[in-house]
């Protein structure tokens, strides 16, 4: 009995996590079903696009710059062990666009945006603003979730593209200034081995991550418990869920894209 109780606890935890994923999936399906049915709220969409896309640029840019630089240093150190320093430009670029750009960008946006969506929507929930929306014949799913979902799904790939470029540039800066690469050679090597699908796959990941971020923010916000504590918990859960789901989705998508 006592021996088994940790196992039982683990089982309950797993069951709880799976149930939550299921509820998020149902919520996402519901949100998507509202995407194509009027009324539409273009103004809400544009505001969300600004909040999610434009204002995330600094954070994503900084993350990418430092990551690109560190990546170049590591690949150089690793490559030097079998005298393959020349791979630095191409591996930095491939690693950035396929993996680190979308994943780190996605996680940073999750921290910034899933939390703010959950806090905003959660506050609306506990101050009865969502009830008020309903009584004003406005569907909260259409008015709150759909614009944010659409904006994040479109904005995060663009952020990833910007992050990719800045990350590669970070690698270039380190490569040229610290590792003694010739600038022209570095650029030529970067371009030579980079394939279109490397970039496209990363952008597709970005779209999926944006979707996850907005859905988690709205889901936890709309299900927020009452009071300030409820909103606090909703915010925390939204960031945790979005981050874990991003990493899981990243693994799955990488399997699908590259495991042939």
């Amino acid at each position: 009995m006592n021996l088994l109780s940790p196992l039982a606890a683990l089982g309950r935890l797993t069951q709880g996590a799976l149930a939550t994923v299921g509820r998020i999936a149902l919520f996402a399906a519901d949100a998507v079903s509202h995407l194509f049915r009027p009324p539409f709220y273009p103004r809400e969409f544009l505001v969300a696009l600004m909040q999610i896309g434009w204002f995330s640029l600094p954070v994503v840019g900084m993350t990418a710059l430092f990551t690109g630089g560190a990546l170049a240093l590591q690949i150089y150190a690793g490559g030097a062990r079998f005298s393959a320093e020349a791979v630095v430009p191409s591996i930095t670029a491939i690693g950035m666009v396929r993996e680190l750009g979308p994943v780190l960008g996605g996680l940073m946006v999750a921290a910034r945006v899933a939390s703010s969506i959950a806090a905003e929507v959660g506050t609306m929930k506990v101050t009865e603003q969502i009830d008020a929306l309903v009584t004003l014949s406005t569907h909260p799913m259409k008015y709150l979730t759909v614009p944010r979902m659409l904006a994040a799904t479109l904005a995060v790939p663009v952020l990833v593209a910007v992050g990719d470029s800045i990350g590669i540039f970070g690698g270039y800066l380190v490569g040229v200034n610290r590792l003694g690469f010739n600038p022209a050679t570095y650029l030529a090597n970067t371009r030579a081995y980079l394939e279109a699908f490397d970039i496209i796959s990363g952008l597709m990941k970005g779209a999926a991550f944006g979707f996850i971020i907005a859905i988690c923010g709205c889901f936890y916000g709309m299900n927020s418990a009452r009071g300030a504590q409820g909103v606090g918990r909703a915010t925390k859960s939204a960031v945790v869920a979005a981050s874990v789901l991003i990493l899981a989705a990243n693994y799955l998508m990488t399997e699908v894209f590259f495991s042939a």
Binding site: P39, Y41, M124, T127, E128, Q129, D131, A132, L133, V134, T135, L136, S137, T138
Partner: protein
């Protein structure tokens, strides 16, 4: 026109409504009184489908209240609701809050017209035009309440619910609001359900009064009979006595 039969609602072990029967005729002003936490707000939310009752039926004009599907929006279009906390959208300026319904959906109008209506409604709740461009967070609690009231009446709904419309207002403003609610019922012919603790308000607004206590409608009758009813609960409540059948620790 609004009929509740055996409406029950519990939150976990908290059995809030335990079989509420109540009917409100068209064009009538019904006031619901009762101690705080007895479920008055929950009752109004049940009618609007914001809270799903565990049991019982709710009929509006003989039809079950539309809680989802295609009938939901036309159903809600008939209602206006003032929430206890105001529930203003803090991302929108005051006038867009008031004109929310007039800026989108079935009752959509040109922006200028919607703004003019919003300013007119604000004036009716005793707020100046300058307030229109402020944000809700810049207003006092009582002002927010009045903006909420203006929003509830902006699209001239047939049925209006007021959850504690005068709480937090000074006596003069409370008088203005009481008069406004009375006017809406007599002039616009609206059906109103008002929750209040304020006995002045009850006397000014009500055609009929219902007292919610212990999860059921304890007493209901015309306002004229409220003072003479032998019901000890009503008597204690309207005179605000600490002694009586209603426990002061709840």
């Amino acid at each position: 026109m609004i009929e509740l039969q055996g409406v029950r609602k519990s939150f976990g072990k908290n059995h809030v409504l335990q079989g509420v029967d109540l009917s409100v005729a068209r064009g009538q002003s019904m006031v619901i009184i009762g101690g705080s936490g007895t479920g008055k707000s929950v009752l109004l939310k049940c009618v609007l489908g914001l809270v799903t009752p565990d049991a019982g039926t709710i009929l509006v004009d003989g039809q079950p209240a539309a809680t989802k599907g295609a009938g939901r929006e036309p159903f809600l279009d008939r209602f206006g609701m003032l929430f206890q906390g105001g529930a203003l959208f803090d991302s929108l300026p005051v006038w867009q809050n008031v004109a929310f319904r007039l800026l989108r959906g079935a009752k959509k109008r040109p922006k200028d017209e919607a703004r003019a209506i919003a300013i007119e409604k604000l004036r009716r709740v005793g707020l100046k035009e300058q307030v229109a461009d402020l944000f809700p967070a810049e207003l006092s609690g009582g002002m927010q309440k009045r903006v909420g009231l203006a929003r509830a009446i902006a699209a001239e709904p047939e049925i209006i619910f007021f959850d504690e419309p005068t709480t937090g207002l000074d006596p003069i403003m409370a008088g203005v609001i009481n008069e406004l609610i009375r006017e809406i019922v007599t002039e616009m012919g609206a059906t109103a359900m008002t929750i209040t603790h304020d006995m002045t308000s009850v006397r000014a607004i009500a055609d009929r009064v219902a007292m919610l206590h212990g999860g059921v409608i304890r007493w209901t009758g015309p306002i004229a009979e409220m003072d003479t009813t032998p019901d000890p609960y009503v008597d204690q409540f309207i005179h605000g006595r600490a002694e009586g059948p209603i426990e002061s620790v709840r």
